[in-house]
């Protein structure tokens, strides 16, 4: 299928598009994007229905420049294809319930761009976009394995992984060096030593132990996986109550004792605030802390850097990065217009510009975008480039599906880590509770 579609894009169309793009690049401005878009629309393998208009729901921006460029791309699409796009933006945590309602009542937005769990919660309600995925994958060097897995169910693509939001260690260089480490530790053993030294220096660290959708899930899964614990085995049997998980929880208890007080109530915003206030020396987050410091011209920006999560006893990266999936509903009156938009957003002129304006907050899911200059113009963004290659998926080590999505959305791992770390329950009780909660999802 890939070959057929790729061949259907004629040499003439590509030439027209390239010429328009080259002219646009020379003269700059929004006109260049629109010119290219018109050329693309004329010869695209995806042609919208006549008179189509679609409604799209996306999550509220994390980085302002990304949002502005996204709007420009949508406007260029409308200009080129005549398809009107109504773009609504909502708080990230509200996207999932809205998607659930739309899927159940069979009406609402035509396209949703939101968290990774959505496609696996409502797979039967989503438009088959295999042709779009094959077209893009064939043209742009193929998809990374992990984000692609989130989009595929039973051999068909039900959603397109638009990007991955990298979540890594954000740290203060001077404070880490003062604690005796020239660079951020690469092993969990050294991380513990650093954490204790930072506390002794009066510059403690902290990561979110509340129900933080992004930050909490990211680091709690990392620490459990780093010690060999996992929610399920490869057959989907719940195995979280294990000696490996116990070792991870004991490790977190010790970390927690050396962190700044109050992390048990932190959500996704608290660590940003604490870091920018100078209260913590390291935390885990996307690049938005650094981006905010740069935007506000804070002196602290020069002292911020990013690092991979340290490697644990299992001896390999065990990160959980967060893909953001874009999916269209079967009930849409204009399925072709939806597919055209999905393809358009990931074509090079739009995607490169958008990736650049996301200043490292998003990582590409198609391999050919690795060369985007966002990764070379500021070395502090470098670690985020690797987000797609180092991550496991949310269902690890079992299958991706409703159960994995449900357990993640219900914060099973985060709650277990939090309960054990704070002493609310013993390590054993926390694991037993998590085991029971996870089994409810995996029995379905």
């Amino acid at each position: 299928m890939t070959d057929d579609i790729t061949r259907s894009v004629s040499r003439r169309a590509m030439l027209k598009g390239s010429t328009a793009l080259a002219a646009g690049a020379a003269f700059g401005g929004a006109g260049s994007l629109v010119d290219w878009a018109r050329a693309w629309a004329a010869e695209s393998p995806f042609q919208p229905e006549k008179g189509a208009s679609i409604r799209m729901l996306r999550w509220n921006r994390f980085v302002e420049t990304e949002d502005i460029q996204f709007d420009k791309n949508i406007a260029a699409f409308t200009e080129a294809t005549g398809v009107k796009v109504r773009l609504d933006k909502e708080f990230l945590d509200d996207i999932q319930p809205k998607a659930a309602v739309a899927a159940n009542v069979g009406a609402g937005p035509d396209i949703i761009w939101g968290p990774m769990a959505i496609p696996h919660l409502i797979p039967d309600k989503l438009l088959d976009v295999t042709d779009v995925a094959d077209y893009l994958g064939g043209k742009y060097g193929g998809w990374y394995e992990s984000p692609a897995a989130y989009g595929i169910r039973d051999g068909r693509w039900m959603a397109i992984p638009l990007c991955v939001s990298g979540n890594y260690i954000n740290y203060r260089v001077s404070q880490v060096q003062k604690a005796g480490f020239e660079t951020f530790p690469t092993t969990t053993g050294d991380l513990m030593k650093l954490t204790k030294a930072l506390k002794a220096n009066g510059t403690p660290a902290g990561m979110a132990l509340g129900r933080a959708t992004g930050d909490g899930n990211a680091w709690c899964h990392w620490v459990v996986w780093a010690h060999g614990g996992k929610l399920v085995d490869k057959d989907g049997n719940v195995v979280i109550n294990s000696p490996e998980t116990a070792a991870a929880l004991e490790y977190v208890k010790e970390l927690y004792e050396n962190w700044i007080p109050g992390t048990a109530s932190w959500n996704d915003s608290n660590n940003n605030k604490a870091f920018l206030s100078g209260d913590v020396s390291y935390t885990n987050n996307g690049i938005s802390i650094y981006a905010a410091a740069v935007r506000q011209k804070m002196e602290m920006a020069a002292d911020i850097d990013h690092a991979f999560y340290p490697i644990g006893p299992v001896g390999r990266p065990t990160e959980l990065q967060l893909p953001f999936m874009i999916e269209a509903f079967k009930y849409s009156k204009y399925p072709n217009a939806c597919k055209t938009l999905l393809a358009f957003l990931m074509e090079a002129p739009q995607y490169d510009a958008w990736l650049e304006q996301s200043v490292g907050y998003f990582t590409q899911t198609l391999k050919s975008y690795e060369s985007n200059k966002v990764w070379s113009e500021d070395p502090k963004r470098a670690v985020f480039k690797e987000a797609c290659t180092r991550t496991l998926d949310m269902g690890y080590a079992g299958p991706l599906g409703y159960a994995a999505a449900g357990a993640l959305a219900d914060f099973v791992i985060v709650d277990m880590v939090s309960q054990a770390a704070t002493g609310q329950t013993t390590v054993k009780e926390a694991m037993e509770t998590a085991q029971k909660r996870a089994e409810r999802y995996y029995r379905v």
Binding site: N60, R61, K89, E90, F91, V105, S288
Partner: protein
């Protein structure tokens, strides 16, 4: 010997309140508890007000006194009112709350009167069913209601909320008014019937004038529930220009993991004002409704 009854009563009263005579006793038994209540009740408003006038650098600077502001600013209010659709959100909220409240109270008055006063077979059952409807959480109803809203083409319009909020408000208001109507002596209506009044005349000329405190009380509850409602407003409305305040401040003033606390608190504080005004106008009626309608 003093035989003046009024003087006796006065003396009894003064003896009854003797424990409040000395200042230390009054401090412990009256002023201290009142102070505790005031702190608990007003602290959220103080915190909202304080945060809404703090500049951004003070909001993240933990070396400063968190209970005070050094360099107050109205920038957050300016941003909220000028750079966002906040005035539109307030208008939407007011429109939805007032209309849904009026609709619900009108329906509830007739339902409550019919159940309490018109003795038809099964009236008690109907009352019980309405109470059961009140017990159903809105979070269970929103999916079926969403289906109705979409099929009638009401999605993303204020009418979606105006017509769905009564599903929460009518059971509650009816139940409240049923209790109130029961406290009105039936003899008053019997006299009116003997004088030839119709049921409608009895309702509008006798029962409703006597029920004003109860209706106001139900109205205040209904208005407040509408004003604060979140889940239906979140699900049924998508466009920024159609959102109500509780949903809009969250969806429009939180950007990813950055919470704009200044405008958020300014929005919450301004959003509380209409409810405070409604309460302040009708607080006396509200209190009197708690003590029943007509003293026999």
């Amino acid at each position: 010997m003093n035989t003046n009854p009024a003087a006796e009563v006065a003396r009894d009263d003064s003896e009854g309140m003797d424990y409040l005579v000395s200042l230390p006793r009054r401090m412990v038994t009256v002023y201290l508890p009142i102070l505790c209540f005031l702190i608990v009740l007003l602290f959220p408003f103080y915190w909202m007000g304080l945060t809404s006038i703090k500049p951004n650098d003070e909001l993240i600077d933990r070396s400063l006194n968190p209970w005070w502001v050094v360099d107050p600013t109205i920038a957050h209010y300016y941003h909220l009112i000028v750079n966002t659709d906040y005035p539109v959100w307030m208008w939407n909220t007011m429109l939805v709350a007032v209309t849904a409240t009026l609709l619900s109270i009108a329906a509830s008055v007739m339902a409550a009167y019919a159940i309490v006063r018109i003795r038809y077979a099964g009236s008690r059952w109907v009352g019980g069913m309405i109470f059961l409807a009140y017990l159903v959480p809105p979070s269970i109803l929103f999916i079926p209601l969403a289906l109705v809203v979409f099929q009638y083409g009401l999605f993303d319009s204020p009418m979606a909320l105006i017509l769905t909020y009564p599903t929460i408000l009518i059971p509650f208001s009816t139940w409240l008014l049923m209790g109130y109507f029961k406290s009105i002596p039936y003899e008053l209506e019997e006299c009116a019937l003997i004088d030839g009044a119709s049921r409608w005349q009895i309702l509008t000329r006798i029962v409703l004038p006597l029920s004003v405190p109860g209706i106001i009380s139900a109205g205040i509850f209904a208005f407040t529930l509408c004003w604060n409602e979140f889940i239906y407003a979140l699900v049924f409305i998508s466009s920024s220009e159609n959102k109500t305040v509780p949903v809009a401040v969250l969806s429009e003033l939180v950007e990813g993991d950055i919470y704009h606390w200044g405008p958020l608190m300014a929005g919450a504080l301004l959003g509380s004002v209409p409810v405070c005004i409604v309460y302040s106008f009708f607080v006396e009626h509200y209190v009197s409704s708690m003590t029943g309608a007509v003293k026999e």
